[in-house]
């Protein structure tokens, strides 16, 4: 779960990484009031869960209170990469002497944290690593040992930092690693960390993503689902306990596994247009499949639905009951084709057929999708 910049800032502040004075606002009036407290000039920054807002005009300086209001008004009525801006951060603008990049992430293949430091911050780290590799150092850290302060200092030395600067940057890098471990982060990044002209070190951005599987042990973060999953259908998926990804088309999909779901999307996508990805996981119940049908059917202009289930750990006959209950209660008339294999499959097929679902009995998903395509052609 990706944190908003202001949430990252709050985390940093709590854990000992300095950030500039800031406030989060949802109106121009509020922005003006906070700017007075913080002191001009300020930066107004859109709070959205996508990167690249700088290039999209999502960060603006304001030197007067009138500008603060005007910029805030303008930013709150825009969207960055399709995401509507609901909040902006008002932050003290700092006079920057030098910028650094600090990041901790995971090398999935090696199964280890990776710590990255660059003495050239404020730009794309991939770019700098490519063009000025001598300014970037990266270390794989054994998770049982962690990043020690001496090692952080050594890294800072390797990118040309000396004296007090080396000590300060290393200390913040060490704290960033501590935050990464303490909060089950997938990534914790400061780009840029700056040294101001007055010699203070501050994080001018905070990018933190928390492992969704670890949220249960971080209730103190008080993360609001509604604010972290912008798409309403995807949010609904999270709420009922399935993974739903909104795609652009008009053929709804329900699958009992993620790999099967992706393959079904790919197969349908060969000649038709998938409306969504949806996987139920291993805990199918009649109610869950009822709710999954309900969710899938909310997509506008749906022309058909393809259901693909394997019953190993999953009771597919129960799932079938939920599907049929939805169809009968809502008078679904678009074609629904289902392939369901595994334990109690014949019973499952009977239930599905009783609800008007076309049952694909061949084992290959490709054949079932062909059947759906034929039914759709007949309708047209």
């Amino acid at each position: 779960m990706r944190l908003y910049e202001y949430e990252g800032n709050e985390l940093f502040r709590r854990e000992g990484i300095p950030v500039p004075a800031f406030a989060v606002v949802t109106s121009a009036i509020e922005a003006r009031e906070r700017a007075i407290e913080i002191g001009l000039p300020v930066v107004i920054k859109t709070q959205v869960l996508v990167g690249g807002r700088g290039l999209a005009g999502g960060v603006q300086t304001a030197e007067s209170l009138e500008q603060v209001e005007a910029v805030t008004d303008r930013l709150l009525s825009t969207a960055i990469k399709g995401l509507p801006v609901r909040k902006v951060m008002v932050a003290r603008k700092m006079a920057v002497a030098r910028e650094f990049y600090l990041g901790v992430t995971i090398d999935g293949y090696e199964g280890m944290p990776v710590v990255i430091l660059s003495s050239a911050g404020g730009v794309s780290i991939e770019e700098i690593a490519r063009t000025r590799p001598e300014l970037v150092v990266s270390r794989h850290v054994p998770i049982t040992i962690g990043l020690t302060l001496p090692e952080a200092q050594q890294m800072a030395g390797e990118v040309g930092l000396n004296g007090g600067e080396r000590g300060s940057v290393a200390s913040i890098l060490h704290t960033l690693y501590t935050i990464f471990r303490k909060y089950d982060a997938l990534i914790a990044e400061i780009n840029p960390l700056v040294r101001t002209v007055d010699g203070a070190y501050l994080a001018l951005d905070a990018k933190v993503e928390i492992d969704g599987s670890a949220l249960y042990r971080h209730s103190d973060l008080k993360l609001n689902l509604g604010e972290h999953i912008p798409n309403p259908l995807e949010r609904m998926g999270q709420q009922i306990g399935v993974t739903y990804v909104d795609l652009g088309g008009d053929i709804g999909i329900i699958a009992s596994g993620a790999g099967l779901g992706m393959a079904t999307v790919d197969i349908i996508g060969q000649k038709l247009h998938p409306a969504n990805f949806l996987e139920t996981g291993g805990a199918i119940t009649a109610d869950l499949l009822y709710q999954a049908m309900d969710l899938v059917m909310r997509k506008k202009n749906l022309r058909g639905v393809f259901i693909n289930l394997y019953g190993g750990i999953n009771p597919i006959h129960e799932g079938a009951q939920g599907i049929v209950r939805y169809i009968q209660e809502h008078g679904v008339t678009i074609p629904v084709v289902a392939k369901a294999l595994g334990n109690r499959q014949e019973e499952t097929w009977e239930i599905l057929r009783s609800g008007g679902v076309r049952v694909a009995t061949e084992v290959a998903t490709e054949r079932g999708v062909e059947e759906l395509a034929r039914l759709l052609e007949r309708e047209a």
């Binding site: 996508v50 995971i106 999935g108 293949y109 199964g111 280890m112 944290p113 991939e126 054994p142 998770i143 049982t144 471990r181 089950d184 997938l186 492992d211 969704g212 599987s213 670890a214 249960y216 042990r217 993974t243 990804v245 795609l247 699958a255 009992s256 596994g257 993620a258 790999g259 099967l260 779901g261 992706m262 393959a263 999307v265 790919d266 197969i267 996508g269 060969q270 998938p274 990805f277 996987e279 996981g281 291993g282 394997y310 019953g311 190993g312 750990i313 294999l341 595994g342 334990n343 084992v363 290959a364 998903t365 490709e366």
Partner: protein, 288 residues
């Protein structure tokens, strides 16, 4: 003779007294797996499906010489449970559980490596050697004994491609789910090495998906080692950037982990890559 698991492997079921553990122990026994013990803290002395239950893994190892374990344990408890299992001397541990925190996976993996223990998963349906034994939740009746090895990140896709193969009379030597988390315990490369040494496997099918670099590393290995014939299918071609497609590790980030990069890497290594699951069968036929 297959890899990792056969009819003689002495299997422990951790979490056997839970609803899922109990049901899956039943299906494993029915399949022919030598399930010799169960372990659930404070439930020692009970008997489930005729299997003696112990309080600790160490007791199960001592009393029943359990050598491999399959875990049906909730995600928050996996780290503690696997540490116990590793310490007790079990050499193969299958973690079926999904949504295990990544930091826990990293810690367990590091510890296992120090002790020379092989883990599989998380988020894996397990291992099946058709006709002999299974450790995990895959439906046994859809597989057939044969000579094709399967390595898969997705459980359900390993079922789909296996039924497609069985439909034309082709069976499997061993089917292994490596799971689909951002960090997995055992890589595709390690399993390819095992299949290379297995006299009962002629070809290997790799079932991959968007996210991570498992398939790219497998391609490097195949090109370097000139392995037995390998055929692949990669799911997730329609995945949008930044969205997790069900699996925690199935995501394109900063342009990395795209299905196309995997397809290209494999094809460059001489591995035929199917555009859809059923095509795997055609590609296998072309090899023979």
């Amino acid at each position: 003779m297959s890899i990792l698991l056969n009819r003689e492997t002495r299997v422990l079921v951790q979490g056997i007294t839970g609803r899922v553990g109990r049901a899956q122990a039943h299906w494993m026994l029915e399949y022919g797996t030598k399930v010799v013990a169960g372990a659930t803290p404070s439930r020692g002395g009970e008997v489930v499906e005729g299997i003696p239950v112990y309080n600790t893994v160490a007791e199960a190892v001592r009393e029943q010489k359990a050598e491999a374990s399959v875990l049906f344990v909730p995600a928050p408890a996996v780290k503690t449970a696997t540490f116990e299992t590793i310490e007790a001397g079990i050499k193969l541990i299958v973690v079926v559980t999904e949504h295990v925190p990544v930091h826990d996976v990293m810690e367990v993996r590091s510890y296992a490596w120090e002790r020379g223990v092989r883990l599989l998963g998380p988020t894996t349906p397990g291992i099946i050697t058709p006709g002999e034994a299974k450790m995990g939740i895959m439906p046994g009746n859809i597989f057939r004994p044969g000579r094709i090895g399967i390595i898969s990140r997705s459980g359900t896709l390993s079922y789909e491609i296996s039924v497609d193969l069985v439909a034309v009379g082709l069976g499997q030597s061993t089917v292994v789910g490596i799971g689909a988390d951002p960090v997995v315990f055992t890589s595709m490369v390690e399993l390819l090495e095992l299949f290379e040494k297995d006299p009962d496997t002629d070809e290997v099918v790799i079932i991959g998906e968007v996210g991570g670099t498992q398939e790219e590393k497998a391609a490097e290995f195949i090109a370097r080692r000139k392995t037995k014939p390998v055929v692949a299918y990669i799911a997730g071609r329609q995945s949008p950037e930044g969205k997790r497609m069900g699996h925690a590790g199935a995501i394109i980030q900063s342009g990395m982990g795209t299905p196309q990069s995997k397809v290209n890497a494999l094809r460059q290594a001489g591995v035929p890559v199917a555009d859809y699951p059923l095509e795997v069968v055609e590609l296998i036929h072309k090899l023979r």
